[in-house]
């Protein structure tokens, strides 16, 4: 769903006003919209930071092992998806549940000066760290002023 995408650089205030139409209170619980397959998912909490060389994205995805994490770049869309894998005995009866959907999913729009081919990803203790470098020509540089 194209509507679910969020611009990487939209700050949180704008995001609540524009990016999450109709989700209202659901967003409080971190539950996101359903995806195309009809399964529901949670929105992982993210930090997005930018420096001169690129963007760093940190996403909380507790319980997602490396094998169940999927990162996709399609056109200018970055999609993060992961399924929670909770080892445990069979025939368990839930008596108290806060995490109802064992899936995380969130999409972002990349901008043109970012180099999607050189994204580096690491996953440690349920925190996904993505480093999205800028294209060489998009890095800030100082322009010398020639004095004649």
């Amino acid at each position: 769903m194209a509507d679910d995408k969020q611009d990487l650089r939209v700050n949180p205030q704008q995001a609540t006003a524009a990016g999450n139409r109709g989700q209202g209170a659901r967003r409080q619980q971190g539950e996101g919209p359903s995806d195309t397959e009809g399964t529901r998912s949670m929105l992982p909490r993210v930090d997005v930071l930018e420096d001169g060389a690129g963007i760093t994205l940190l996403a909380d995805m507790p319980g997602v092992p490396k094998e169940k994490l999927e990162l996709k770049v399609e056109g200018d869309t970055l999609l993060i998806e992961g399924t929670v894998s909770a080892p445990g005995p069979q025939e368990m009866e839930a008596i108290y549940v806060e995490v109802r959907v064992p899936r995380f999913r969130r999409a972002f729009t990349l901008s043109r000066e970012l180099d999607a081919n050189r994204i580096e990803a690491s996953l440690k203790d349920g925190v996904l760290k993505l480093r999205i470098p800028k294209q060489e020509h998009a890095k800030p540089r100082r322009i010398e002023v020639a004095v004649s």
Partner: protein, 152 residues
Amino acid sequence: MYESLLSFPGTLFSDVERLRREFDQAFDTGGLPGGIPASIRAVAPGSFPALNVGTTQGSVEIYAFAPGLDSKKIEVTVDRGVLTISGERPAPVLDEKSNVYSRERLFGSFKRALSLPEDIDPERISANYRDGLLQVSIARKESTQPKRIEVQ
């Protein structure tokens, strides 16, 4: 079914109210009639870490969704039937020149408590931290487990 004498059927408000309740039922209760009751120590949604609790015949399993912690610094205690999970999540190191667009991840110290069923054995607890998921498994006392009795 009328909520009160003032909510007549067929008005816009009652329709909205009915829709709201239907949504709540469909999404909040996981389809179970009446929903899963909340614990007396329940906290506002979105608190850190989120907890799921399940039981089997032999044990109580607690899952805490606590990403990005040092396993040595997670404190898990059981005192008089109350399980407490506490710890601290370090604040991310920020470069002064960085632009911050989104700060949704929580940091700082946290503590959550949960009352356990009466028949647990506080001597047999194991805790395991993997992929940001803390799993605490507490055995139940043998005496309370169902037993098959041989007929002579």
